[in-house]
Symmetry: C2
Subunit: 355 residues, 2 copies
């Protein structure tokens, strides 16, 4: 689909700022939004001029395609402010490229780089006061696209809306995360959309996760739908396993999201001299490692929580508690990564990009 380049962004500033109403010490993840948002409509086969304007609801027709046929994709990114008040993005090209891969899989138009990247930079500059310094502080960035064409017929929409909204966040302790390994439910099919950051993938997980919650588990580790023998993702995150001193994670596939934090951790761990194996990890292997004591850690990896350590897992009604260990890889890697992201340590990888 066409991706007309346009360099102009129409900007309308908010008359007043909401920033003084926000308690930045008590931020609930993804609940508070900044003063402005970016909006760009795709109509008549091309992207219109992007607009930055005050964050506000918009009029939605009840027959809008996104409500009926689920054409909706998103990304999760973060921006960080350094001690000089410069604002930095972390590997934004990875998110931009994945966004357009998701668009193709969902039969949606690709978003031009200048709309996505220049739009994001402009938006962050306008709302720069909302980006706070200090480790753990970040601006969570949510680019998304929805099908806005009307009519209840199951065909791809002709019209779309691309938006970027910003939500200030702080580091959070996810608490004691116990997980259950999926024996029946699954999040993705071969030949399906599991590798796309498509809205429908998330809603599909809510019910199985709710069932797990009722049993006292915070998340589900998803397995392959055909055999339920391979470990794939944890909740909405990629998942890593440490057996002895080797870090294991599944290869990306049609069923597994190509996570930016996942690929970053693989590189970071390797640079720390950690042995990393990217290969299918079997449930049976995990159970055996838990039983013989070689399983040291499990953690989720994603933009929102960065790294979320898992304290134990249940499989076939048996709960396996992980050992409490000193110098956990999860803690070390999270520390190194957030230092790079927050510009508190040198970025030798070239991951951080100043806006």
């Amino acid at each position: 689909m066409s991706a007309t380049q346009t360099n102009k962004i129409d900007i309308t500033k908010a008359a007043t700022s909401k920033i003084n109403e926000v308690d930045f010490e008590k931020l609930s993840f993804g609940a508070v939004f900044t003063d402005h948002m970016l909006e760009c409509d795709f109509t008549n086969g091309e992207w219109q001029t992007p607009v930055i304007k005050p964050y506000a609801p918009f009029l939605a027709d009840p027959s809008m395609r996104v409500f009926h046929y689920g054409q909706a994709i998103f990304e999760g990114m973060k921006a960080y402010k350094d001690d000089n008040s410069d604002i930095w993005l972390f590997r934004p090209d990875e998110n931009y490229n994945r966004f357009n891969k998701s668009a193709v899989r969902m039969a949606m138009p690709e978003v031009p780089e200048n709309v996505f990247m220049d739009g994001l930079s402009q938006l962050l500059k306008i709302d720069q006061e909302w980006v706070k310094k200090g480790k753990g502080n970040a601006m969570y960035i949510r680019p998304f696209m929805i099908a806005t064409g009307t009519g209840v017929i199951a065909n791809p929409s002709d019209d779309y809306k691309f938006m970027i909204i910003l939500s200030p966040v702080t580091s959070y302790y996810s608490g004691d995360v116990k997980v259950v390994i999926a024996e029946h439910f699954s999040r993705a099919a071969n030949g399906g959309i599991g590798a796309a950051k498509a809205a429908g993938n998330y809603a599909a997980q809510f019910y199985p996760t709710t069932l797990a919650n009722k049993e006292g588990f915070q998340q589900v580790i998803w397995t392959d739908d055909a055999t339920h023998t391979k470990l794939e993702e944890a909740g909405t995150m990629n998942v890593f396993f440490r057996i002895n001193d080797t870090l294991l994670t599944a290869p990306t596939s049609e069923r597994i999201l190509d996570g930016v934090t996942r690929k970053t951790l693989i590189d970071l761990a390797k640079s720390e001299g950690i042995n990393v194996e990217v290969r299918s990890v079997l449930v049976s292997e995990l159970v055996e490692a838990a039983e013989n004591g070689s399983l040291k850690e499990i953690f989720g990896a994603g933009t929102a929580a960065v790294i979320s350590p898992i304290s134990g897992f249940s499989y076939k009604e048996t709960y396996h508690e992980l050992p409490k260990i000193e110098n956990a890889m999860a803690t070390q890697l999270k520390d190194k990564l957030t230092n790079i992201q927050n510009k508190l340590a040198e970025d030798t990888f070239g991951w951080t990009v100043k806006i």
Copy 2:
């Protein structure tokens, strides 16, 4: 989740009707909507008073959960007007029950029967002039529910909106439908949401269908994602195969929608003395039947098109054209079913319900 019963419906009538602007001879499916819609919000853990009001857009927050995590379900139903101008629904309890099954699977609240059923009856009565008499004419009914809670965190929403919108339709000839059998893509996973009428299932099909379109095929016959050996659905419809004089269709499962037209056709065919087998149908079996001449018909079954005959299928680069036959079961069954639906033949099954 709670399903508080309420019998009150707040009604606000449109000042003027759009009906004279509509050419009922040239209706495009699902594109025109009547003067009114039903809306009922779920907030603070309970369903509020349903409202019937003029069809119009509503304000949507950019962080509304449906845009980001795809909690959205729908139904497709039809209403018919008989010669006495009475309006009839076809097996509405099937749609109502399936809607709430979809709701459970997508971690959404079930809709109370009186909101769904009384709301629909009231809405149809108010817009009764839009329901036209005559075979093939119908009012397409689209009940749907979306997550309206705000905040970009991947948890089930606390707030929802249930709506019913109405679109007058006429019978349509779907043209020569050639299909390709999926060898790589799939529409549903074991343990997934394929049996729910969830928005995300539809968007997932658009890209593979677009690829099929480019090769000259109108639709895809979906196969099981694990082995691609079992025939499951055709496009957005259930699928039937006639081998010699036996009608075959796959059993419902987690991957296959429990279609109302599907179950109706099974009963109708049996009552006509047709041998019906509900069992897994293999791709290999279909190819063999095509090659030895025993494959007589393939057709899709769904509310929108009722029955959509398929003229041939492609598998592994080989196209198998179906024979042109007299007295096709597809034609006979469609005729019998639409006569019952339009109250032009006696309904001995008790499927039609007067509002």
